[in-house]
Every structure is written in structure tokens, then in C-alpha cells.
Symmetry: D2
Subunit: 426 residues, 4 copies
């Protein structure tokens, strides 16, 4: 039986919750950096990158070598939260390579290895330390699928999956989300008014760039204003850098250089470097009041991930070369996407860094563009409240020519579906 | 710097939430089956087994070989929920080796790779399909740390971590939890009385054996009674087999042979076979009404885990040899633990299969016994509402002589701390 | 148009929520003590007494005179919570006649004039003062229809009216509610077990006799045990004496002589003496931490009610004569109801004092008995989870011969519907 | 002992929740129309009118006569929800005098006699009929003190009284509440965005004029826009006319002539005409799906209130004379208040009809003005999030010269405390 024949097993046995496989109905077998190969030998360029979990591409040689070495020598795979050499080395590297140069002082909490778990830990800790319940989350925010994080997630379809009312969260418009509304001013007024009905918040929970919500990027002014407001009202700032962090926008954290010192920073996705499950929460030290095991999780000690995560830090973050490369690619991306946006009436550029896309105005067109791309060997997806944004999340390590060729495919697909051409073609 | 010196990094940088490392303050470096070795070369026998995540021991040679092969050949590590050959082969194996021989018909949902995520998916689906909110959970139940699952978790310390009230769950006594109370009869009466104030439940959420709650094992009669009650009241049965499943009590599922057909079965811990993060939810096919991505998760496609999980199924579950071996070991364990229980006034045997322990009556004594064990190279932990149960969770694959020696250490430690000897010693 | 003809207006304009008028489809025009007269001149004996709001009967001459005098002289009707002479005189009388002789020290809070409002105030204050959310309420409890009190109400139909999940309440079996279960022991065990999943409660909320729930009367031992448990766990006792208080069981409070000192006592129904809207909450002085208007209500200063309430206290509670009379009537009632219960296989006596009834085993028979009573000029209703209890709530002031005649009617009706006779009749 | 001496009883026995009596520390004894007299014979003009519960003034002679007649003749005082002649006559009058001429078709639900109870009934019914939980309420809204209504109330102090999180309500800015924000546009965008995190609402709950919230008056455009939005999204409109209704702004309902057809209208305060406890909910007939007693309340049959309420309808609403009078007084009030506002830098006029006031910019000044008024025999209070609005709520029936004199007192008090004069005086 070939792999292809086996896809039937999915219909028979995999839950209807499956999704990406519906857009890309082939069986993948091999992956390296930005290239995927299916079981029939066809190759694809990956502009999805595990939704930003593969910022360093697939199967980076150094991470792979370190992992093979660890497994070969019977290093621990699963260690609960017991001390292991590879865990210590990861923490050391994180301290020296990430925290110290940025003058950041945080404790690292190893949560269950999912982004939603890190967000839940942050929400719990914010409520526990402030004695308040309300978390202010934002329109189009995406924070996870478990009940605490889901309450903070904006998407109606996801929320409906909860099957019951979701509580503890108050919603405010993200920067620019509502026409003619200065979101920060609105939030400030709502909190200043003792009869507004908005209870004093435990925290603001915000993504610096909203990945699932449509590549909305908050400005430094907005984030700084929010931070000031939080401090004024005794609330914490939880900066969810799960999708936007680990180099995606250029620097390691997406909010670097903005004058932001978040109280809690959930991380996941590209944290392990190689796509292995790994999540964590950075905690301002004085807020680290957890009792032992007060929040725990069986897989919080994924030692394979510690190995690859350390290699990723050592390889990419010892100096600013990688950040500079990313910024150069991002500038190229902006230029190319602007050309595409210009092609489609009403379209606009969204996002920041290597997390950009084109809002084409409606989900149908965006879906059509992505489908055409896939026919031409490009894996790319949409985001946004109406799935109206074609989103480029290529590995940061993608070779420049492959990146350019991928964008050629995208541009061609956009051309096919741009309204003018559609009319001409009909 | 030696690994040992690096333990300091934990104090400096790891969150206070860390726990097991406090009981076992060494740095582990190497692990094979039931043996752990620290960075100074000392060896330990593992009676904790990643809290039942390492039912097949550490670094099983066949799983290891398959994983090395997959990684070496640049197989996908992270695949979101896209089709991959190794995923298909896992599903095929699960269907042929697990489902079909047991005449079980379920859809497999790949959730975020934590037990709590599988439980949340189950709770969401139960509420969504029944249109009801209330989940009946049980005293001493443990289901996870995210807000939905935490609401169903009994432990007061864990619950307090939530920082806000937990809703949607009604609590009933587990079988035998309350002296002189027939739990099933109580539940039946509560549900039969339209003025009891207990709303019609969406589901019962129960562990066949409560791992964290003190190794309480429900009888077949109790579980069957619950299932009947559920059907009578239009509720589902969610059988949380995360800790008790995957062979821990003998058969693959802990409830086999009891006449139980759960509607939803969350699985995790030993599912990957090698301790890699992996969780899933088995869904009665007609309940699989999820919309695509209605519950999703970035790491739901941990392909490394698919590889090792398949090997585990093929190696251990093609016939009943492994189950028989486990049952033989369990019988031996019962005998040895009974001897220990007999030593301590008021002590009693708890649990079932290779998930047994001794309730020594108080947490202080249990902790002292475990500490003494560790001094003699045995890693073992407690469970129960007062941490009063010394819990043996050895790998099922532990060699018989190592198992016996570990139990010798445990018996000796119990002897040291048994009240009579303590009095004699004072 | 006659009054009778006008009943049509109800169908046309009154909400379907109306209820008692469906059982007693006549138009009442006049009422005195235990007698009601309809607009066609037919007289009825009142064994419902406004669900215990008319413990002193309809239109007591002294209350009536005082009210007429107050209204005639343009005394304030509505005073918000401003000081008025009649309010002061009510408080003085309550202090001297009720509190001081019983050695009770409480503050009186004038809540909105509904029982549910007094209960809500109690629940709010218990949560506020303890910093805890969970209120333990009991099976078959009835505490009101607003969302806070409704959460504590057991009846499934009433709960369903809320249209959303009701939170903040944990349910325990009332004394004797579950066959073979020692409710107090169960509660004690649940609270003692730190992993039971029952959070530390703010309060126990209990009716000494459950009026709507089927005339279940708690023993002194049970209530005292609950009080001890509450103190041990830092919880308050809220004794809802709305239906059972103000003399209904004999003494002014239904729990007198039981060694109970509740922390909070909601009162309503017969508080005004004449059936006028009036409710209040007795608060243990050190718990009276309300800020001005923190809980308020427009009609909390119903001065007409203050006038009649004061007269009621002065007329009936200056000595123990009234209590003795009630006890004598209650003894007579017990005797007569026992005769009825003996007539019906499986029937049993329920309740205490002048709050007794017969559980006839099913709602249909109870309804049939009440309907037959009404045909013979007796107004009487059912209660209980299945409406299976025929409940006698006559005014305490009912003349002995009228009481006896009413019971004759009831006995005759029971005879008609007793199974043996039904069989004979068929 | 004189009444005055008795005020001590309040300190001793009345809960600290008492409020208005702190501003007006005298004992009232007699009241007629807009005049109150204390027990020392001093007279006061009432610009508070029971917070709009005494729109027809104190002890209207016709209502008083009808009530005396009813009581004298032993008409029922308390009737649960049984039919009585006076209830039928009230409903008949309400139908003929209020509903029919306005072409309004509603069922009348007699709720427990508090505004909060009518609001809770409305919220429950909205959730029950739509199957949705979220009620959209507004900044500065005030709807009551029981948990359901309190969730919709904006005031932080009141909310804190709940002692637990309040759920089921989402907050939006009232018209004009936030500088530079078009509230209606904001709400429209929030509801249109499927990822906004605002769940589809069961209802909008709004006061046409916010009494407690600072006399904010919504425009017809805003209310109509809201109604359109509600219909578009399958939500109901609950128009809380408790304080603004029954003639307070001129017409019987405050929203008359605005093109509004609310689905549910809670009424209370001046409904009985004489300040007696009485509340009700008007229900669009097809939404009247209550089961019998699904929402009930012991005092929902306050027959005394039915008597006076009917007289009020017959006396004041048979033609438009009363409305015209009110509008004339309101015009006079506007003129006088504008003069006061002009005196105080930054002050502005608030409200509509006979529900107007002056926002003097800060709570301290407003309190000082009210205190000075009281010294000169005028009872007047503040409202607003910061108690910054001096609010005139005179009886609609106040004689013109008394009204003018009261406003003279207010103007003089404002002059005393106006900043310029304060500076001059210092």
C-alpha cells in the first residue's frame, strides 16, 4: 500500500476537526528548510511554516544532529520537571543569549507544551497575583482553545466550540480595529469611569501582531500606552508572543525596542526551533509566586525540545546577523506584497517583519489565491476574521531565490483572481 | 562547569512552579528502561515512570531506532494536521491493533499534546453535542490544569491556582470516597429528583483508576452503573484513561472487560510510547461533529510521536503477551505491597494492575518513605488528597529482578518509618 | 360588567407566568382572617395564607386600623430609606419584642421588599465578608427567582427560567433527602477532603423547614451540626426563615430553642403582618460592613408595612400566648393529618408546626385532592419536587372550628382520591 | 420619647447600608404632594420624589381615598397572583388608557414588586427565548442590585457588593459616553466582526434616560439605531423605563414618539402612583412563553398598589393634559437649570423632561450644593459616576410656585458654591 492510498484512513478514523489537510490533500514525507516533499516526489515551498512554529525551517542540520546525538546516547526524552543536563543547558543559553543582552529579568516556567497552556498559566497567575478576575483581551485576538484561553480568543467559530459561556474576559478593540475609534483612548475612558461596568482588570492580554486575527500589528505607541494604563490601574501586561516572537518580526521578541517590559510573556511555536512541542511562560520575578506544581503538566519536560531549542539559540541569536537577515527579507517581502496589493482594488498590506500578508477584501478570493498557489507548489494560508488576508509565514531561513520564486507564484495566483482579470476572463 | 554545578540555574531562572526536582535534586543524564543515571554516574530505579508516561520504559530500542531513522531521513517533525506517512501509519496501526480486535469504533482526534487539552476537547464536545453545561466530575479526580479541565480537578491547591471561580462542573463522590455512602445510589437519587438543584448533565467525567487522587479504583459495577445512568439521563461518559490507560492496569484500556463503551476517551501520557508529547481524544463516531479546526492546536501533529507510538503498538499489542506479563507483575506487586501494608497499622493497599500503592495513613510518613527510597536509589512518589499513598508506577517493562529489588528498597524504607520501629528507635 | 366577566382580561393581558389563579379560577373580593369571599359571594377557607405571608390572617383589625389611621393622616407611604417615625417605631418594637427577649443581637437591613432580595443581600454579604464565592445550598431548597437566589433554588423548572447557567452554588442533600445517606456526615467528609473539589464555602444557605421543597423539616441536631461545620470551616450560616419564620412553626423564628445563632437571617412574607411587601435581613453586627447604599432598593422604605409590622409585633409577640396557641393548633393538625396519611398507602406526614402536610406519593393525587377541596370551598395547595405533598398553611389565627371544618373537607377529599376508594369506585 | 430622639435606633439597629437618611438626618412624619414635614413641624420641598417613585407626589387625594375605601372594606391586601376585582380593573385600565391609544400590544407580567425583579424577569426571558446568554448593557447603566441585574449595572461600588464576578453581560458605551466615539457605530462594528469576541447578544438592555448614571438621555436616532441593530442580529430590546417612565419625561413611556417598539419593558417606581411597591414587565405577546410560575414572587399581587395604580391611570392619563403640563414644567426647568449651569464654569445641562440636572463637574461641589439646599428646606440629590450631577426629580404634580421657589433655593445654593464666588469669598 502506498502512502497515498492510506489517506483514506483519515476519513475513516480522524476526527472532523482536521483542517489543513483539507487544503493540502497530499501526504508529506520529507522536509528540509522551506521545502516539503510528498510521497510522490513532488516538492512544495512552505509559506506556512507550521504557523510560525518552523521559523528556522524544517530539520535544521545542527538541531537535527544534536537531537540524533541525544537520542542515540539514550539521553532522557521525558523528564517531568526533573533536572537534566539538557534542560540546564537550555536555561543557561536562554539566560545568556536572550535575557542578559536585552537586560530582561524573567523566570522561565515550563508549562505543558502548547501555546494555550502557556497563556492559561499567564491568565491564572495574573488573576492570582492581582486578586482580580477580569482579563482585557482584544478584538481578533487568538490565544488558544482551552477554556481559559478560549475566553480570550475572539473568533466566533472557535468560541462556539466551547459549548458554554466563556467568562472572565472583557473585550476591547485592538488598535485600528474600529473605524474612527482611538482604541487606547476608549480603553482609558472605560477604565477611568467608575460606572463603566468594566471591573478593574487583572491584566491586558495582547498579541503585538495578531497572527490568526489578520496580521494586525500594534504600534509601539499603542503598546506603550497600554502598558502605562496597566500600571496606572494595577493591572499586568501579558504579551502573547507565541506567533510573533522568536524572530518572526526580526528581533527575538516582537516588541523589542518599543519600550515595553511585559509582566508575563507566553512563548511556544518556534521555541524548540525544530517544531517540537515546547511552551513556556516568562514571568517577572516578583510575580513568580507559584507553589510547587500549582500549575503543572506531564510533558513540561520535553528534553528533545530542550536540546534543539538550545542549538537554535546558539546558532541564530549570538549576534544580530540573523535579525538583520530577517529584516532584509521582510523589506523584500513588503515590496513584493505591495505589488500584489496594488493589483487588487481595495487590497492592503498587513503585518510586520516576516509576518506580512495582503488583505484582499474577502475570504473567497483569498481562498482561491491560496488554492491556485498550492496547484503551483506553494503552501500558503489565510487569516483574519473573514479569512480575507493571504498570509506569508515563510521560514526565516528560506533561501532568497526560493523566497522570490514563491512570491512569484503568489503574485501569479493573485493576478489570476484579481477582479479585473476575472472579469476579462469571463 | 559540570552539570551538577548548573543546577543553580534552576533557582535563578526556573519558576517556583517546579516540583519533582525538589524531591530528586540531582541532574539526570541517561535513561534506559527502568534505570536513570545522573551526571555523576549514580543509577536509580524508576518507580515513577513519568507519572505513567513511560509505561514501556525509557528509550525503548525499537522506538529509538525508528525515531533515529525518521529524523536522519528528514521526515517531518512538525506537520500541523497535514497528512504525513507516519501519521497515516499510526492511525492504521491504532485501527488494526487497538480498535478492531476490541470491536471499538471511534474517531481519533489529535488534540494539543497535553492530557488537559484532550480533556478540554472532550468537555467541549460533550457540552456542544448535548447542549448542556454541567459536567459531573468526582472527588479526588485529576484532569488537568487549564481552566476547563481544572474545574473538574478536585485538588484544592491546584484549583486555587486558577485565581477565579471555576464553573460548569458538579462534584459527586467517587466510589467508596465517602464512608457509608453508596455513591452510585446518591448520584442516581440526585439526578432523579427534579428539585435537587443538579442540572441535567452533559457528561460524567471519570478516571477508572484515580492516579493523582490516591489510586482509587472504581469497580466494574460502579462504572457500568454510571454508564447506565448517563444513558438514562441523556449524558455522555468521558472515561479519562490518560494515566490508567495504555497498559498500565494490564489491558490497553483500563476499562476493558467491564462492559463499558465510553462516548469519549481522552488519552495522553504513554500514548507516544517514548514519553514524547502526544494526546488524543477517541470520539464515538456520531458525536464527531467538530467543524474543521473548531478545536485545534499547533503541536497536534507531533510526527516524532506518531513514529514511536506506532512502534509501541506494533511491538506490545499485537497479541496478549504483554498484557499477561503486566498482570503477572501486578500480582507480584500486590503481594509485595500487602506485606508493606501489613507492617503499618491502618495502612491499606490501593489501586489496580501496575498502578498500586500503599495508603500509609498520613502524608508525612509517605514523604519520609519516599525520601529514604531516594537515598537508596529508588525514585518513587506519593499521591492522594493528603499525599498519603506511596505509589508504585514502575515501567511495565521493568526486569523482574530490578522490580523486586526496587520493592525491597521500598519495604526497607517502610520498615524504617513504620510507627512501631519509629517508637523502638526513639 | 361584573368582576367575573372581567377575568377575561387575564387571558388577554396577563403573562402566562400566572399560576395560582389557574387553580382557583374565581375573582376574590373580600378577605378577613381565614376567610375569602369571591365576587359572587361564595366563601372559602384559606389554607394557603399567601404562602405563609398571612400568618395573622387577612385584614387583621388592629393592623387595618393603624394603617387607615396612617394613610388618613398623610403619613409617608414611600420614604426610600429616610427616617420616619413609623420606621423608628417598627425598629424599636423589633428590638424590644423580638431581639432582646431572645438575647439576639442583629442589625436590621431593609432590602427591596421581596424574599429573593433579602436572600440576595445575604449571599452578597456572605461572599463579601468571607472573600469566598461558593454558597452551599440544599436539595429541594427554594430561595427566590432572581439570578443569585435562583442559583440556590433546587427546582429544575424554576432554574430553567434563568436561561443561562447559574453559578456560585454547590448543592448538598438536605437532611434525609437521600435514602441511606447521613447528609451531615457527607457534607463533613466533602469539606474535610482537600481534593473533594468543593471549594471552601462562604456560607450554608438553608431553610429550617423547606416550604416549597415538600415540608422537609431539619432536626435541631442537623442544624446545629451544620452550624458547627460552618464555624470550623470559616463559613457563615444563612438561615432562610422567610416561609418558616414569623410564628409559622410556633416561635417567632423557626429555629428557636435549637441552639442556633445564624449569622444572617432573611425574612419576608409575614413580616409586615398584613401581607404588604416587606423584607429584611438580620445581620450579625460585626458582619454589617455594607457601605451606604451598597445594596439598596427603591421600595425598601415601605412605610405602610412598617405600620402594620409594628402592630403585629405588639399584638402577637409581647408574651408567649400566641406561640402556645399555635403549638396547640399544630398538635391538632398533626393528629388530623396523621388520620389522612393513614388512609393512603405509603403516605406520610411532613413538616412541623403550622407548616405540615401529607406526602401522598404522587403529584396527580395531590392535585386531585386540592381540586376537590376547592370545589368544597377550601383553598389549599401542594408542594414538593413532584408536587406530591398536600400542604396546610392556614393562618395561625384561624378560628378552631373553621380550622377543623377545613380539615374535614381535606379529609373527605383525601378519602375520595385514596387508592382503595378509587378502586372501589371504579 | 419624641420621634427625633428615636433616630438613635438607626445607629443601633439599622444596617450600615442605609444611605439617604445620612443626607437628610431628620424624621419625616407627614407628606403631601411635593411637601414633606418632619416631626418638629419643619417643611421641605421634595425634589427627590422617591427617586421618581412619586411622580404624582405624596398621598394624592384620589389614590388615598380609593386605598382607604379598599382597606376599610376588607379588600384583599395580598393575593399571590389570584384574580381579584382590583387587579382586573388595573389591567383593564392599563389596556384601555395606556396600551390601546398607543397601539401597543403587550402582556403584563406581575413580578416581585421591585425594579430589579422586573429587570431580572426581562433578562431571563430574553435569554430563554433567544437561547443566548449575553446581554449588552451600557456604561453608567443602573438596573438593580440582585445578581442578574447587578451584572448589568455599571457602578463599581454596587458591583463590588456582589462579592463575586458578575457574568452574562457585555458592556458598550452609552450614546456620547466616550469622547469622540460614535457608540452606535462601535457597537455595529463589534457585532459585525465575527472575531470581535462579542457573542451574539440575547438583548440590549438600556435606559432611555439614565437616572442614576448622570441623567444621560439617548437620542431617538440612537435608540432607533439600536433597535435596528438588535433586529438585524436576532436580539431583543429591553427598554428599562423604571425611572424614566410613567410620565417622568412627559409622555407615559419615555420613548414615545421615537419610533421604538421595545420587546420587553420593565416598569416599577411610579407604577403604583402612590409609592407602593409594584413592578411589572411588559412583554411582546409572542415572547410570553413563561410556564406558570416559572418566574414568580410572593408579593406580585400587591392589591393595594393595584387600587392606587388604577386611580393614577384614570386621573392622569385619560387625555394629554398631564403630559402637556409636564412638558411645560420641563421647559421651565430647562430654563432655570441653564441659568445655574451658566454660573458654573464647565457646568452643563443634563437629562430630559422633568428628569434634568446640572453636571457641575465634580462630586464635592454637587454634594455641597445639595447640603446647602437641605439647610434651606429643599430635598435634592446627586447622580452620575462621580456624583457630579445635581438632579431635579420633583413630583410632576408640584405646584408651579413651589417648583419655582425650590429652584430659587437651588440657584442660591449653586451661587454659594460656584467657584468664582468661592474664590471671592475666600
Amino acid at each position: 500500500m502506498t502512502d497515498t492510498a492510506m489517506t483514506d484512513i483519515y476519513t475513516r478514523r480522524e476526527s472532523e476537526a482536521r483542517s489543513y489537510c483539507r487544503s493540502f490533500p497530499v501526504t508529506f514525507k520529507w522536509a528540509k528548510n522551506a521545502t516539503l516533499r510528498d510521497d510522490e516526489g513532488r516538492e512544495y515551498t512552505d509559506f506556512l511554516a507550521g504557523c510560525s512554529s518552523l521559523n528556522y525551517g524544517h530539520n535544521d542540520d545542527d538541531m537535527k544532529a544534536a537531537l540524533l546525538d541525544h537520542v542515540s546516547s539514550d539521553g532522557l526524552a521525558h523528564g517531568l520537571d526533573m533536572h537534566t543536563g539538557v534542560k540546564a543547558r537550555f536555561l543557561e543559553a536562554f539566560e545568556k543569549i536572550i535575557l542578559e543582552p536585552r537586560d530582561m529579568d524573567y523566570k522561565f516556567m515550563f508549562t505543558g507544551p502548547t501555546g494555550t497552556n502557556a497563556v492559561e498559566a499567564a491568565m491564572k497567575l495574573a488573576r492570582k497575583t492581582t486578586g482580580r478576575e477580569t482579563i482585557v483581551a482584544f478584538t481578533n485576538g487568538f490565544h488558544g482553545m482551552t477554556m481559559g484561553a478560549l475566553a480570550a480568543t475572539g473568533n466566533a467559530g472557535k468560541r462556539a466550540g466551547g459549548g458554554m459561556a466563556l467568562s472572565g474576559v472583557v473585550r476591547m478593540p485592538y488598535e485600528g480595529a474600529m473605524d474612527g475609534v482611538d482604541s487606547l483612548a476608549l480603553i482609558r475612558e472605560m477604565l477611568a469611569n467608575p460606572s463603566s461596568g468594566i471591573d478593574a482588570p487583572a491584566a491586558f492580554l495582547i498579541e503585538p501582531v495578531q497572527g490568526e486575527g489578520g496580521l494586525n500589528a500594534a504600534s509601539a505607541d499603542f503598546l506603550r500606552g497600554l502598558q502605562e494604563l496597566a500600571r496606572e490601574h494595577g493591572a499586568l501586561v501579558i504579551m502573547d508572543d507565541i506567533q510573533s516572537g522568536i524572530g518572526r518580526t526580526g528581533p527575538f521578541f516582537s516588541f523589542e525596542g518599543m519600550g515595553i517590559q511585559p509582566d508575563l510573556i507566553p512563548l511556544a511555536k518556534s521555541l524548540s526551533g525544530m517544531g517540537l512541542p515546547f511552551a513556556g511562560l516568562l514571568i517577572r520575578p516578583d510575580l513568580d509566586v507559584w507553589k510547587p506544581a500549582e500549575h503543572n503538566g506531564t510533558f513540561r519536560g520535553n528534553n528533545h525540545a530542550f536540546v534543539t531549542a538550545r542549538v537554535a539559540l546558539e546558532k541564530f541569536w549570538q549576534d544580530d546577523a540573523f535579525q538583520k537577515q530577517t529584516e532584509a527579507k521582510a523589506a523584500f517581502l513588503t515590496e513584493r506584497l505591495q505589488r500584489i496589493a496594488d493589483m487588487i482594488p481595495g487590497a492592503s498590506l498587513k503585518g510586520r517583519g516576516m509576518m506580512q500578508g495582503v488583505d484582499v477584501g474577502c475570504g473567497e478570493m483569498a481562498a482561491a489565491i491560496c488554492a491556485t498557489c498550492f496547484q503551483h507548489g506553494l503552501i500558503i494560508e489565510t487569516s483574519g476574521a473573514h479569512d480575507e488576508v493571504v498570509k506569508v509565514l515563510a521560514p526565516l531561513t528560506i533561501p532568497q531565490d526560493q523566497f522570490a520564486k514563491g512570491l512569484d507564484v503568489l503574485e501569479a495566483a493573485a493576478q489570476v483572481h484579481a477582479p479585473a482579470n476575472k472579469i476579462a476572463a469571463e
